[in-house]
């Protein structure tokens, strides 16, 4: 049997052959060319089918589907955001409670006064949860990035200081962590804060941040 017949036979049952066997046969120029030609023939048929079947009506329907799913997604995120906000609220309150208990133990006489102070302090430093990624607004208050990939987070921060961001390797783009950004701080401080994370090395040079 010639090798192209073997290739065709193998293509009838791709799962019956190991990855190695596939690599092997596709190393052969003639087989590779035949396979590629078959793939392109299929593409030609797909392209012709697309011309025929993708009518204006289909496009309208697909647009309606997109609208339906994105509306739903937006609703889910806003619900999630509400939940997240209330969780943070609970955390802040329990933080206050813990602080209050601690203070209470140490300064029993001043108890009432201190609790009032702490509560006031906590209220004034209330954080805003990062308002998704849709707006370009620059917040003057601290922004909490919670589990947001670095490739989303950093360009936003950098834009505020009008500096460029370069990722020296691909893995760092996807890093997620919790980071609180205070726009009132200088960029140097932000870079130094980011460098507290073990896996990151951030350098600032000539209006450009490089992340490794």
């Amino acid at each position: 049997m010639n090798k192209t017949d073997l290739l065709l036979q193998m293509m009838e049952h791709p799962q019956a052959y190991s990855a190695d066997e596939w690599q092997q046969i596709l190393l052969d120029d003639e087989c590779r060319e035949l396979y590629t030609l078959m793939s392109k023939t299929r593409s030609a048929i797909d392209a012709a089918r697309a011309e025929e079947q993708i009518t204006d009506q289909v496009i309208d329907e697909e647009w309606q589907k997109l609208c339906a799913t994105t509306h739903q997604a937006a609703r889910h995120t806003s619900q999630f955001r509400k939940i997240a906000a209330s969780v943070i609220g609970v955390l802040i309150v329990s933080g206050i409670a813990l602080a209050a208990m601690h203070i209470a133990r140490q300064h029993q006489e001043q108890k009432a006064m201190k609790v009032a102070d702490t509560t006031a302090a906590a209220n004034s430093s209330s954080f805003t949860l990062h308002p998704s990624l849709t707006e370009d607004t620059v917040a003057a208050q601290p922004v909490i990035y919670d589990n947001i990939p670095l490739e989303k987070m950093l360009p936003e921060i950098a834009a505020h200081y009008d500096v460029k961001v370069t990722f020296a390797n691909e893995e760092v783009r996807a890093f997620r962590f919790r980071f609180v950004w205070n726009p009132q701080q200088g960029i140097e401080q932000v870079v130094s804060d980011l460098n507290q994370f073990e896996r990151l090395r951030v350098t600032l040079r000539d209006k450009e941040i490089t992340v490794e």
């Binding site: 017949d5 690599q23 392109k40 011309e51 496009i59």
Partner: protein, 176 residues
């Protein structure tokens, strides 16, 4: 330019071409629709990359939106393809890695047009039928053999002959 209505306009203007590119790479109707859907869903959530591109296009004095949208489609398709094992890629008749990355959308489209023309002119009729039954209707070689009441080896022979004339068609017109 982030307005939903603007995105709707882009959707209606570029959908067909985006879908066609996805279909040429993935060979699957539902998956191709998903890919285009996801590209626009992402743009509705975050259109900054699009805005950036439009700004660049405006300074360069030409519309780069289409190229941008097609690149988004290609990247998503490549992700889909790379996540599959080689056997699955062969089963779906994906292009081999290198070609997919190198060929531009316009090259792929030109080749597709030439091949479509080649398929129309295939002779004898049995070659034409085999190509359509296998690549359009998804019949396996053994099913085609049964339909024609010939051996599978005979089907291979016709198929190779058909593909050979398609190859020649692709080559000669390329050099013209």
């Amino acid at each position: 330019m982030t307005d939903r209505r603007d995105i709707e306009r882009l959707f209606k203007q570029h959908y067909r071409q985006m879908y066609r590119l996805a279909a040429m790479l993935l060979h699957d109707d539902a998956e191709s629709k998903d890919v285009v859907h996801d590209v626009f869903a992402q743009l509705l959530i975050d259109s900054r990359s699009l805005k950036e591109r439009l700004r660049e296009g405006a300074t360069a004095g030409k519309d780069t939106t289409q190229a941008f949208l097609l690149t988004c489609v290609r990247n998503r398709c490549l992700n889909v393809m790379r996540n599959r094992k080689i056997q699955e890629r062969i089963q779906r008749l994906y292009l081999l890695d290198l070609e997919t990355t190198i060929l531009s959308e316009s090259q792929l489209r030109e080749e597709a047009e030439r091949l479509s023309e080649g398929i129309r002119q295939l002779q004898p009729p049995v070659c034409h039928d085999i190509i359509l039954w296998h690549f359009r209707d998804g019949l396996t070689f053994s099913e085609i053999a049964r339909r024609l009441q010939v051996s599978e080896t005979t089907v291979y022979k016709h198929l190779r002959r058909a593909l050979e004339s398609l190859r020649v068609q692709l080559k000669t017109q390329e050099s013209v």
